[in-house]
């Protein structure tokens, strides 16, 4: 498995080639420890990556009438739930529309019309049909959604208890994503912090725990390929987490109108192998210490990690 098909030439950094080699070399290991938590949708990515000439992070296998490619470990649960709800909804739409068409066609200019506003029985039928549709369709959505919330979205115990968890503090600005990694000392706002702009790097298969603020206006942090969306709001720390199912490069998008250049508030997320990630973090941390400027107060932000 390679990351070539997913890289973006226009924004490639000089260090990219070495990383790629690193990633390639570590493939076997990745595949080894990914088998246990790989979602059923993983095979989709394989066809996407089989076109190495493409310069699009994820557009390779994109279909117009489909959700963005799912590159997360847990997102398939949302996709499946949406799939089910769409089936129900298509059924409801077909039933309602069909009923209307048949009624109009059959009773158009009929000689006689019924003189009643329904019988007790017909009204009971209406209520019963509405209630049973409601229970099935809304019930499925509620139960499915609740399961996902309990297990994934609001279950911060997963990243909190996993020793491999990667913590990232993100500060949204007009118009970029500034990300901070704690570095070797595991503490934020210290000299060895790694700070990147529009460039998130995470190890694949490992919980990534994001805490999010905004400096100026309300932004929306979204990873369309990971089913992640969370507002970045000045004055509060929001948090969420996700797991990348495999290595590759995907996009970070702002989904809240945040001013003139909202549409350019685009970042990239690279899911690397454990080793490539560790190597990058080590090297970037070393450079950060060298470049650290005590007087640059604007660069000193970060907070004590918030408990879930």
């Amino acid at each position: 498995m390679s990351v070539e098909g997913k890289s973006q030439p226009s924004s490639d950094l000089p260090s990219d080639t070495s990383e790629r080699t690193l990633a390639l070399r570590e493939d076997a290991t990745i595949n080894g420890h990914r088998t246990d938590d790989a979602p059923p949708g993983v095979d989709k990515s394989v066809e996407g990556k089989s076109q190495p000439s493409s310069n699009a992070p994820s557009a390779t296998s994109a279909r117009t009438l489909a959700l963005p490619e799912d590159a997360s470990v847990d997102g398939h649960r949302i996709d499946a739930l949406l799939g089910w709800s769409h089936r129900f909804e298509a059924g409801m739409a077909a039933l309602a529309l069909g009923w209307m068409v048949v009624a109009v066609w059959r009773f158009r200019n009929a000689k006689r019309a019924a003189s009643d506003g329904g019988t007790k029985r017909s009204r009971a039928w209406v209520f019963g049909l509405a209630l049973s549709t409601f229970l099935v369709v809304d019930g499925a959505l509620l139960v499915g959604s609740e399961g996902y919330l309990r297990d994934v979205l609001w279950n911060l115990q997963v990243p909190a208890t996993d020793p491999r968890t990667v913590r990232i503090e993100i500060n949204a600005h007009q118009w970029s994503w500034e990300a901070r990694y704690a570095g070797e000392d595991n503490r934020f706002n210290t000299s060895d912090d790694v700070v990147t702009w529009n460039d998130l790097r995470v190890p694949a298969g490992v919980p990534v725990w994001v805490q999010l603020v905004s400096t100026d206006v309300v932004h929306g942090f979204s990873l369309p390929n990971f089913r992640v969306k969370l507002d970045a709001i000045p004055g509060r720390v929001n948090q969420t987490w996700f797991r990348a199912a495999r290595e590759g490069t995907w996009e970070v998008a702002c989904y809240q109108h945040c001013g003139t250049s909202h549409y350019r508030m685009r970042g990239e997320l690279r899911a690397l192998s454990d080793e490539a990630y560790a190597a990058w973090l080590r090297e970037a941390g070393r450079q950060a210490v060298q470049a650290y400027d005590v007087d640059d107060s604007a660069a000193h932000w970060g907070w004590e990690w918030k408990a879930p």
Partner: protein, 585 residues
């Protein structure tokens, strides 16, 4: 028509022309947005005079102003004024047998406050830095002067306050009018469903527009007086406030507002489906009750707009359950409409076609909203064009078609002239099909992940493949715009030389068609009608037998029917079986 007249029909006509004007403006702005998504950065045809520096192409700042103003103009200055200002003002007193609204001066004043807001909106296009550009929701801190300087944003915020004031005044006016000014015998159970829809929506106006006014006033203070109710982060000095409070206040108004925009249309659909199926509405009480239940719930579901704002799981779960709950009464109402068609004698007149089209687009809009009501499925769709397609189907397409259902139905009453029925049908059908094309295309693009409000969506590689889809959607939108010419031609031609309308062209029994002239004179009725039955007394055997027609006026005495039982609420038992013909059970 005197501009100072206090007559509800004159006020209605003022709202009609203003609302149609702003509908045109909002529609043109929508086309500019659509153009940008199909041919990003290319000059918009015919816009070079307004944007000479870019030779007509939208620039990012212009684009943000365009989508902001599209939303604000459509909601506050086009659709609400058309539904309430025009149709509501005109129909409501007539349909309940009142000589006017309870507070005629208030209704005239309300129009002028709205007009002032409209002038401010138009003026904002001319000031430096252009009109508002922080989105129709105007979330702070973006909407504060630090991030959106310029007079335009302030003018438009004041304009929204004006529109809100006007909405509050007619809301209050309608509530009091329905509660206090009904003709004798016009019991709550005999109100046309249109009146029920307007009544519930007016209650929502009275309850929730003040919340918008509060949020907007605080926002204005943040902009102009240096307060910090909603400012946090770098722009906050010494403490600061909380931007999320604004979001809660805004949506506490904003979600009832979408029901405000659709309830009158629901009511009209309920009536029109019954009228043109030539039979009483199925489950009248159930339908009215369902509209009431939706209204009651509408203020309790709003925070689904904030599912991704990081609110506590407790709130998220609560609002998820409440949101899903609101689909139950909506389904009951929809099924009642379908049941009304069944065993009727369906007449596909232009108002009926518009009502059926409203049902279709509203049904699809409602169904596509289900996934947005559950937190998990909301996440991938939140902030995408899926949301845009969903709410445009309901409060855009359905409200629009509802307005035209009402307009085509009551136009002969408003102006005494009959529109060209063929042109009206062409307009309704083409609009409905193209609405489905436009908003269906948006749903598809949103499902594939296209985010809202992007100047150039194709900056994102994962959205690049959506360009052809967006171009097709844009083609539909321009055709939709072109289809409106059919209406304009019909309108202008009819007003100039249309034939005089018959007294009761649709052959229905509601008071405005059976007891008032077309157009009604001052005071509406020569004599206040005494109401004997419900609004849908159609195809009643006794009436067919004795009058030889399938309808009877709400206040029309059937030969042999005991007059004294009418409206005598104390002695309903004295009414013979005949006097309750068509009354609702």
């Amino acid at each position: 028509m005197s501009l100072l007249s206090l007559d509800h029909k004159d006020v209605a006509r003022r709202y009609l022309w203003s609302g149609l004007g702003f509908l045109l403006l909002g529609g043109l702005l929508a086309l500019a947005i659509r153009w940008q998504w199909a041919w990003p950065g290319q000059p918009v045809p015919g816009l070079a005079w307004a944007l000479p520096e870019s030779r007509g192409a939208l620039t990012p700042p212009t684009y943000t102003a365009v989508f902001t103003m599209h939303g604000l103009v459509m909601i506050f200055f086009a659709v609400t004024p058309l539904l309430f200002g025009a149709l509501g003002h005109f129909v409501l007193p007539l349909a309940i047998g009142a000589r006017g609204l309870a507070f005629p001066r208030l209704s005239a004043l309300g129009y002028w406050v709205y007009a002032l807001g409209g002038v401010l909106v138009l003026a904002s296009f001319a000031v430096r830095l252009g009109p508002a550009s922080a989105g129709w929701t105007a979330y702070p801190p973006l909407s504060t002067s630090a991030f959106t300087p310029g007079l335009g944003q302030t003018l438009v915020t004041v304009a929204v306050l004006c529109a809100g004031t006007s909405a509050f005044t007619y809301g209050l006016n309608f509530v009091v009018t329905v509660a206090r000014c009904r003709a004798p015998g016009m019991t709550w159970g005999r109100l046309p469903l249109t009146v029920w829809g307007l009544f519930f929506a007016s209650v929502l106006n009275v309850l929730f527009v003040p919340v918008l006014a509060a949020a907007t006033a605080l926002l204005l203070m943040d902009r102009l007086l240096g307060t910090q109710f909603f400012i946090a982060g770098a722009a906050a000095v010494g403490g600061g406030g909380d931007p999320v409070v604004y979001q809660h206040l805004f949506w506490l108004f904003g979600h009832p507002e979408v029901y405000i925009l659709i309830l009158p249309a629901w009511g009209m659909v309920g009536d029109l489906v019954a009228f043109f199926s030539r039979k009483p509405a199925h489950g009248y009480r159930l339908t009215a009750g369902a509209m009431g239940t939706v209204s009651a719930l509408s203020g309790l579901v709003y925070a689904h707009h904030l599912f991704t704002s990081g609110m506590s799981p407790l709130l998220g779960r609560t609002f998820m359950v409440l949101t899903l709950l609101i689909s139950l009464p909506a389904e009951v109402m929809f099924l009642n409409w379908l049941m009304t068609l069944w065993r009727g004698s369906v007449r596909l007149t232009s108002p009926m076609l518009a009502a059926l089209a409203t049902m279709v687009v509203f049904g699809l809009g409602g169904i596509t909203g289900l996934a947005l009501g559950a937190v998990a499925t909301d996440v991938p769709l939140h902030g995408t064009l899926w949301v845009v397609g969903h709410f445009h189907l309901t409060m855009g397409a359905a409200s629009f078609l509802g307005v035209f259902a009402g307009l085509y139905f009551w136009f002969p009453k408003m102006f005494g002239r009959a529109l060209h029925e063929g042109l009206a049908k062409v307009h309704v059908l083409s609009s409905a099909v193209l609405f489905l094309g436009v908003f269906g295309g948006q749903l598809a693009a949103g499902y594939a992940g296209q985010l809202r409000r992007l100047y150039d969506p194709y900056q994102y590689t994962y959205l690049k493949h959506l360009l052809p889809l967006n171009q097709w959607t844009t083609v539909c939108a321009f055709l939709l715009g072109a289809a409106q010419v059919v209406f304009v031609v019909n309108l202008v031609w009819t007003l100039r030389r249309g034939r005089a309308a018959e007294a009761n062209p649709w052959q229905v029994g509601t008071l405005e068609w059976t007891c008032a002239a077309s157009p009604p004179g001052e005071g509406n009725f020569t004599q206040i009608p005494v109401v004997l039955r419900g609004p849908h007394a159609l195809s009643q055997p006794e009436v067919l037998e004795r009058l030889g027609r399938d309808w009877i006026g709400q206040a029309e005495v059937l030969p042999g029917e005991a007059r004294q039982g009418a409206g005598d609420e104390a002695m309903p038992a004295s009414e013979g079986p005949v006097s309750t013909v068509g009354s609702v059970t």
